[in-house]
Symmetry: C2
Subunit: 68 residues, 2 copies
């Protein structure tokens, strides 16, 4: 199992949290997503280490940005 934490900017409310969570959960191998709205920290648990580009794409699909 693998855990990685990313920082997402632009989330302002619970709806934003839901949008990011849903998109990231759709990545193959992801088993858990935890979002902390005030800090923008998104912790992703997966069966194997994720390709960060996949996470970035999911976050951008939701309408937000990953900090580099």
């Amino acid at each position: 199992m693998s855990t990685a934490t990313y920082t997402v900017t632009g989330m302002t409310c619970g709806h934003c949290v839901s949008s990011v969570t849903e998109e990231v959960q759709e990545i193959t191998g992801v088993t858990g997503v935890d979002v902390d709205l005030p800090s923008g920290k998104v912790t992703v648990t997966s069966q194997a280490p994720l390709d960060d580009a996949r996470v970035r794409a999911a976050v951008e699909d939701a309408g937000y940005q990953l900090t580099s």
Copy 2:
């Protein structure tokens, strides 16, 4: 036709706008809802003048507050 403008607090993003719009549109007689996010102004068009309590209830159902 009747138009009334209300001020809603707590909306922070487009999802919030959608939530308020959807709830207010469900009020019987409402024909149009326009939300301006930066100001929180919600303009409601209806066939006949609305009961403000109905609008307040809809906004609160969406999770936001109407200023008095």
